[in-house]
Symmetry: C2
Subunit: 251 residues, 2 copies
């Protein structure tokens, strides 16, 4: 099957490019512990490369617990999805076919590196220079081999990363609490909104200003829902404070 062979080669190509990308990105804090962890994008890329090569040279061993029960046995060259996230505490490595939250946040740092590269190219060429992670940056990341980075995913968890940036201690405590309670990622994600709204309340409700004041956060668009929550809560707070300070008795 020519198409599948090409696909394997293309994935092989992506894989190599990605390793190079990882090396380049290593300047900003190293690749992290995921390089040796099964189940992360990086390791999956390596698995895929091994499989691609096996088709050509029929070699390599099977050192991963779940290596071959994926892809329905249809050749093993489909681009598989990333493993889903689970709630992990800081420093904890996800076991099995899962990714942890340190890895999630690492993806945001990678996007930042890609943005910086896109900015450098734009400046070099005298073109207009993005200040945010735009479609152009996601496209660049994909071309550079980071096929596990995509816009819907990154946008989905932006506010979780925001909490991690703005109050790492609160973020860590939340992760531990939700892990202990056995909550799923969706519940943890929802729970990240409230502490951010509280931060905004303390700083005049200007969530845009809060994002922009933080260098690693400023490159991300403020999520619509977070903006709406801040707005709604501000109005509630204003109404209740004017009520308690006005002609109504506080209870």
């Amino acid at each position: 099957d020519t198409t599948n062979a090409l696909d394997a080669l293309s994935q092989e190509g992506l894989s190599q490019e990605q390793v190079q990308q990882e090396k380049e990105a290593a300047g900003s804090g190293g690749g992290g512990p995921w390089e040796a962890v099964p189940g992360t994008a990086l390791e999956k890329k390596k698995q895929r490369r091994r499989k691609g090569q096996r088709k050509l040279v029929d070699v390599n061993n099977m050192d991963d617990e779940n290596e071959d029960d994926e892809n329905g046995g249809s050749g093993g060259n489909e681009r598989q999805r990333e493993h889903p996230f689970i709630v992990t505490e800081p420093g904890e490595v996800a076991r099995g076919k899962k990714n942890g939250l340190d890895y999630l946040f690492h993806l945001y740092e990678q996007c930042r590196d890609f943005l910086i590269q896109v900015q450098n190219i734009a400046k070099e060429r005298g073109e207009k220079c993005p200040t945010k992670v735009t479609n152009q940056v996601f496209r660049y990341a994909k071309k550079a081999g980071a096929s596990y980075i995509n816009k819907p995913k990154m946008r989905h968890y932006v506010h979780c990363y925001a909490l991690h940036c703005l109050d790492e201690e609160a973020s860590n405590l939340l992760r531990k609490a939700f892990k202990e309670r056995g909550e799923n990622v969706g519940a943890w994600r929802q729970a990240c909104y409230q502490p951010l709204v509280a931060i905004a309340a303390r700083q005049g409700w200007d969530i845009d200003a809060i994002f922009n004041a933080h260098p690693r956060l400023a490159i991300w668009y403020v999520p619509t829902k977070l903006r709406q929550l801040c707005h709604a809560e501000r109005n509630t707070a204003t109404a209740s404070s004017s009520a308690s300070g006005g002609d109504q008795l506080p209870f």
Copy 2:
């Protein structure tokens, strides 16, 4: 003709809204001398309103030299184009069916006022707040009755306004020189690029930074051609300076 009557009414409505808009905008420097000058958008609106009313009440006089030889006698309710610009010196009012450059620059100030209004509405609603004159602002301006403001025109002359903001004296001298030579607006417009490139050269070639550092200019996108000229000239300048400082003889 129902359509024409409605059109007349709609233009009447726009006209009134615009007058209100002018009053609101007057806070930032007054409406300027154009309020009483035939041939500007404002006066044309008034003419159009008079014509529209004449259809209904058959009254009003003809106090403008060119009032009725426009529109091919087809009813007088077409939305006519703005009079073309001519090169005027500062303070000079364009005569005949022309608009002057003070009026052109006034349009940029009006757009700024519209942007500020859009920003205030967005903040009020907790929506994302534009920092530049976007399509949304042009739409708002049109709805507010400023039908003589449109994107292609404003973008076309942005760099002329930039020179006016960044070096008003140089801008004024250029206007006088081109008026004296009897040059048309297109020639003057072209001539506005070079002084801006010279300004950029003095400030490290970063035309975006130059725009952003000026409060009235920061709300406008840097025109593509100006960006390209700065980039090209920077490369030329770098090449020649490295040549003269390197292994080639300067001539």
